[in-house]
């Protein structure tokens, strides 16, 4: 009888340990902020390379080809913002566990205006605080997200000339190095 009692106590003890370990809040692996920062570094670098070495060089400096919003019809280069958006769409189609977009307080396409509270606050923050990123958590639908917003600055003449001259641009006085918008990266976190 006593043996059975001891066995029961032992099993309960093991169960408590196992359950205790399951409930442990310590998280291992990469943190959402680190992941977002790393993703942004890749995005920003690729975007800068395309803007400077392809579009600005060929369309603005050497004038051998145009860059156009209607690149198929005009047989022209894809605009840097489109290149970025097409990449984001392709990533989404592949079912990646994060999403990203390019938004602005002065968007050419109104659909790219800030919409959520985090986007509104974040885009203003990065514009008012050059060099700083904005991080927040937000709930969209039934899902919580870690949201990071990074400044998108004018790195080439092609950026400012295109936006300043576009018929739908709400702002036409962008200068080199200025914040023109923000890259928004969202990573789903516990619901």
């Amino acid at each position: 009888m006593k043996t059975r009692q001891n066995l029961t106590i032992l099993l309960l003890g093991i169960s408590a340990l196992v359950l205790g370990a399951c409930g442990e809040t310590k998280t291992t692996g990469i943190q959402p902020k680190d992941m977002a920062d790393a993703l942004h570094k890749v995005m920003e670098s690729d975007r800068t390379v395309y803007t400077k070495y392809i579009v600005n060089r060929l369309a603005v400096q050497e004038k051998v080809i145009k860059a156009s919003e209607h690149w198929k019809d005009d047989k022209a280069l894809v605009l840097p913002a489109q290149m970025f958006r097409y990449g984001a769409e392709m990533v989404a189609e592949k079912g990646a566990n994060f999403s990203y977009s390019l938004l602005s307080l002065w968007p050419v396409n109104k659909q790219n205006s800030p919409k959520t509270d985090a986007e509104k606050t974040g885009l203003k923050f990065i514009s008012d605080n050059p060099g700083k990123n904005y991080y927040a958590e937000e709930k969209l639908g039934d899902q919580n997200y870690f949201t990071a917003i990074y400044a998108d600055t004018a790195v080439a003449k092609a950026c400012i000339s295109c936006h300043n001259d576009h018929k739908d641009s709400p702002r036409t006085d962008f200068k080199m190095g200025e914040v023109m918008g923000g890259v928004v990266i969202r990573i789903p976190i516990g619901s």
Partner: protein, 464 residues
């Protein structure tokens, strides 16, 4: 045997009979018994093959979505879909998805619901755009007061394909003449593009003209002289395509070529891949694509000529075997079956008058307008190594919504404004474009006004 036992025996026998019958119907081509409701015009040809869309008994909506995309995905990519799935999987649009979950095609296109199905198999109310574009008048004041069930009116907007309707395109084509001075129907260039066709058997059948004496029919095969004469004047004979190029298949066990009397589309596809794929994607060939029996005019929902009802549709039903007369395939083949008002009015149209002149050497090549000029247009096909001109054999590719014809067809000869007006006039379509459009669609005017007003505002602001 007790009465209870008899009941059980009856129950068992009737269950086996009913179960067996249902299993037999499920395995057969005729699965009508399982149809929960009439399907749309785009799918009714294959509705008796449940597995064409319901590819897996389990898996739910994702299985259906994959089935939709397996047939329509490429087309959506080609037209730069204005509302791709990624727009709705973006978390920032979660509030919009709550109203309309457009991540899946069935959000707007539910099948088997004839009572709520409108044109283009849409099963949501016509004013569905309001969910996401309620504030459109803030950005486009000209749209203030417009009802949301008019967004997709002819010549305005489409949910998926806006290639011929976007603002800069409208502005680029303002003030064009109703009929252009220069016609731009593409010339076919198959022979010149053979290097772009990866499977073309150039080694076995070099591009050199063949005479009757050079035919390679096996001696044991009897051939009608008329058939040989027909082949001898075709492009096939002129391009070195000998009899065995079509009339043979590889016999694996014997490791040799075997003669076949009646080659089907699976042979044509080896040299005409893009064209055959188009055929298999359209209403003429979609049953063959699903390994069902061939489509016949008797199955059609459109009016068809009674004597054509039993004709089975494959490549040769329009091109006729051995003759391969593309002019016949461009008009007479169509009219031998189609019996609707638009088709019947064709031969008294200006388009046919131009076709008659061209085919009677009274006008230059490319100046005539046949049925296929509009419904199977010549288009650029990217093979990966370059573009070649193909005939789009999916006659539905540019048919719904009909604004898809603007760029692929109408604008080869007509100005954009005239084309938009003509396609919006249902009466004009029915009588095969006899007369002028009776209404004017203001898309181009609105685009011009917006730019003009913007420029005026900028001048005003500059003066301050």
């Amino acid at each position: 045997m007790s009465s209870k036992s008899i009941i059980w025996v009856y129950w068992l026998i009737s269950t086996l009979i009913i179960g067996g019958y249902l299993a037999y119907r499920l395995m057969s081509e005729d699965q009508a018994i399982f149809l929960p409701g009439k399907t749309s015009h785009g799918h009714y040809q294959i509705e008796l093959d449940c597995g064409a869309c319901h590819t897996d008994s389990f898996g739910g909506g994702q299985v259906l979505q994959e089935a939709c995309m397996s047939c329509h995905g490429k087309e959506l990519k080609n037209v730069d879909d204005s509302h791709p799935k990624s727009k709705f999987t973006d978390p920032r649009n979660a509030d919009r998805v709550a109203n309309l979950d457009a991540r899946k095609c069935v959000a707007c296109h539910v099948e088997h619901k004839p009572e709520i199905t409108s044109t283009m198999a849409v099963t949501v109310p016509e004013d569905v755009c309001v969910y996401c574009h309620m504030d459109i008048a803030e950005d486009r004041p000209s749209h203030a007061g417009m009802a949301f069930d008019t967004c997709a009116s002819a010549g305005c907007h489409n949910f998926h394909d806006n290639q011929g309707l976007y603002e800069d395109f409208l502005l680029k084509h303002t003030d064009e003449a109703d009929v252009k001075a220069e016609i731009k129907v593409k010339n076919r260039n198959y022979r010149e593009s053979i290097h772009l066709i990866s499977n073309y058997p150039l080694e076995a059948y070099p591009l050199s003209s063949l005479s009757l004496a050079e035919k390679d029919v096996p001696s044991k095969v009897k051939v009608d002289q008329k058939v040989l004469q027909e082949w001898n004047v075709t492009s096939h004979a002129k391009a070195g395509v000998n009899c065995t190029a079509c009339h043979s298949e590889f016999d694996k066990p014997a490791q040799t070529k075997k003669w076949i009397n009646n080659p089907d589309h699976s042979v044509c596809i080896s040299c005409h891949e893009a064209e055959t794929e188009g055929f298999l994607s359209g209403k003429h060939g979609m049953r063959l694509k699903q390994n069902m029996s061939a489509m016949t005019p008797a199955m059609a929902r459109l009016p068809m000529k009674p004597f054509s009802h039993d004709k089975e549709l494959n490549c040769t039903s329009c091109h006729s075997s051995h003759k391969f007369d593309t002019r016949h395939a461009a008009v007479e083949a169509c009219l031998s079956c189609h019996n609707d008002e638009h088709s019947l009015a064709y031969k008294s149209s200006k388009h046919y008058a131009l076709w008659y002149k061209e085919t009677n050497a009274q006008a230059e090549t490319g100046s005539g307008v046949s049925c296929t000029t509009c419904h199977m247009p010549r288009t650029l096909y990217n093979s990966g190594d370059g573009n070649r001109v193909i005939v789009q054999h999916n006659q539905n590719d540019n048919l719904r919504p009909n604004e898809k014809m603007l760029r692929t067809v109408c604008m080869d000869c007509h100005g954009l404004g005239f084309s938009i007006d003509a396609l919006a006039d249902e009466g004009l379509i029915k009588n095969n474009f006899k007369g002028r459009p009776k209404q004017h669609i203001k898309s181009i005017d609105m685009a011009k006004d917006r730019i003009k007003n913007k420029e005026l505002r900028q001048v005003g602001e500059g003066d301050k």
